[in-house]
């Protein structure tokens, strides 16, 4: 079960993911990111501080947006990951592909740098 909230701050769309993302709930995450992109946000941050677990399908969602965002020059930054979740990202080697930061400030800063 997952609960997803959206919040806008300084022109960035902050998507908060609360709970667990498995095969079925990953669709919701997918839709949220697609919506955010569709609404034309130039910076997308994902708050993972309340994310308890993410399955391979959930990781697939982030992965599937990497190229599209690169093309559109919209930075996607994840932040506040718990150790276990971060471990999942690093084992799959996604840590090298995605921008991951510890705090919101750092994430915002990175997004600002990237979007310029």
């Amino acid at each position: 079960m997952v609960h997803i909230k959206r919040l806008q701050e300084d022109g960035a769309d902050i998507i908060s993911v609360i709970g667990e993302i498995d095969a079925s709930s990953s669709i919701e995450l997918d839709l949220t990111i697609a919506k955010s992109l569709g609404e034309g946000f130039r910076k997308i941050l994902v708050d993972c501080s309340a994310l308890e677990y993410i399955s391979s399908a959930g990781l697939g969602v982030f992965m599937s947006y990497i190229e599209e965002m690169k093309d559109k020059n919209v930075p996607l930054v994840l932040f506040g990951m718990k150790e276990k979740v971060a471990n999942t990202f690093s084992i799959l080697g996604l840590a090298d592909l995605l921008c991951i930061r510890n705090t919101k400030q750092e994430a915002k800063k990175l997004a600002d740098e990237l979007s310029v």
Binding site: G60, M63, E67
Partner: protein, 687 residues
Amino acid sequence: MLKSKAIIRLAFLGSIIAWLILVFSDIMVLFSDMKGLPPGVPVWLPRVMLDLFIICLFYYYKYRVERDEGLNFTDLLWKVFATGLIATVVSLVFRLGSSLLGTTKLVSNILFTDFIYQINLALFISFLLAAYTSWKRLILYQKSKWLIRTWIIFEFCLFIVLIYDSLQISIPETATTLILVVIGLLVIVLSANMRWVAYLNFKQKWTCLLLLLLTFFYLGYFIYTVSRLSESISTESPAFLDFNSHIFNLCLLVFVVVYSNFSFLVILFNLPTSSVFEQKLEEVINFQRISQSIQTEQNEESVYNILLESSVSSVFADAAWLEIQSANDGNKLFTYKITERESKDIRDHLKSHNIKGALEQSSDRTRNLSKHLASLKGARFRSLLSFPITVKGETIGTLALLKELPEGFNKEMTRIVSAFANQAGISIENFRLMEEAFQTERYKEELKIAKTVQKSLLPTSLEAGPDFEISAFAESADEVGGDYYDTLRINDHQVALIIADVSGKGTTAAFHMSQMKGIFHSLAQQELDPKEFMERANRALVFCLERGSFISATYFVVDSKTKTIRYSRAGHCPVLYFKASAGSTEFLKDKGTALGMVRSRDYCKFVETNEILYAPGDIMVLYTDGITEAKNQKGEEFDYPRLEAALKEVTEKSSQEIEKHIIQRLYEFSGSSEINDDYTSMTIKFK
């Protein structure tokens, strides 16, 4: 128990014998009376024989008519009519015979007259009893407890009368009158049971009327003949057994006549309303058609057609249409005696007059919209009724019925059609539910196939080297996952190993797994460096994997000549390695991104080849995330430390035993034999 056929024959035989004795004894009595001699047979004999005759005949008809379930109402009346016909014809033959004999001595002989009289009486009684038995069935149609009790009392009274007749005990006049009054009342009460008439259709009613008329004719004929004969005999001899003095016969006659009259009148007055009843019956049948239409492999379309047809025929609509809103292929229109053009005109007209909820799909009420039609020029219809068709609380269509007459629909009709529309909605809902069930079934079947495919993709035997042994374990959950492991001998000193996990589940996972197997078997033979292997595998998979899908894998080349393990990790769970010399375990967390994630040639930057030297006693455990992520009841994960600990307990054992032990620990931890993910592991023990 005697069979009913035997009883029928016995009763018939009994009645004939009784009648023969009756005739013989009666003539004897009459003869001796006329000659003034003491009778050779007892005087009571004819009376008792008459009773016996009646009882036997009663049972004869009881078993013939009452037990025959196949008879319907007209059949019953027909039976009465046929019996009457035979009786009359026989009687007429005798009459003809006697008239042919002319005024001979024989004809004027009182004994001969008595004989003729007895024949006629027997025929008359048998006709009356046939009618009595048939009427009984008609009266007891849709019986109630009360009705059955009344009937039993009635039959009992008749029986008492019969006994009384033959015993000739003189009881006070008042008692006789009382019994007669009781019987009379019972006859009237019973005759009020005319429910069967309602079930006759128009044609049957006419047939019944005709049959009843003929029955009246027979009755009249026999009453006339029998009373004429008895009159002529009784003037000659006082000892004659008069029909009129027999109260039972009179009661029977009264009952038959009264009920026949009642039936005749009731049927006659029911004639005009029979069409209404027939229509009700047709409605019930239509209802059944709608609800059953689903079972017989029909589709939604046929439900709509039946609905349209039934509604039109139930309310005598001149035209109708049914509009069904459908998400995929636009609105569908079914029409009856109205062109699409005309129906569109009416709809447009209503829309232009802003009549809310009329034929709109959102309408949830039945509406009579006749008044709005008046303002439509050139329309031939003056009445319009619209009904919503709802499935799961959602309106999916509208049924519109039209009539050329103004005020053409009444409340009754509205109710019927609204019931039809509801039933159609339910039928369609059932139909859709059934479709869904089929889909689920198909999906399950697909999963089963996927599972078989997945199983067949795993190797049946594993390679082994001179200095190492391998064992593997795989157990999959209900949902098919995509865990894969395999081994391949490259040359005499090199063996390739792989463990992989395909993202996602079900058929696609099994499909990707088979691709991975193909890639492994073709690339491993080429003696590639593990990093090169991953790069090429990635390049091949990019074209097979859809966006968001990936495969995590670790590829090893074990070289028994150089005692090295060269491997490359692509996003797969880190290998657990036990070093015997140090007695320590570690997870080999090297850099590496899963296959399919980076879709360009840049992938080479994300993978690397690592090398370790192995020594005897070293153990390598490959596994998938199903094992580390296995949860216990508290929701805790098995995780890396527990896996490590499990291995450390059995480092001295063979690969197979190590594996068994780890899996056992895993099951102990999860606390159930039910698994929610795939458990796959491969253990390599070096010697």
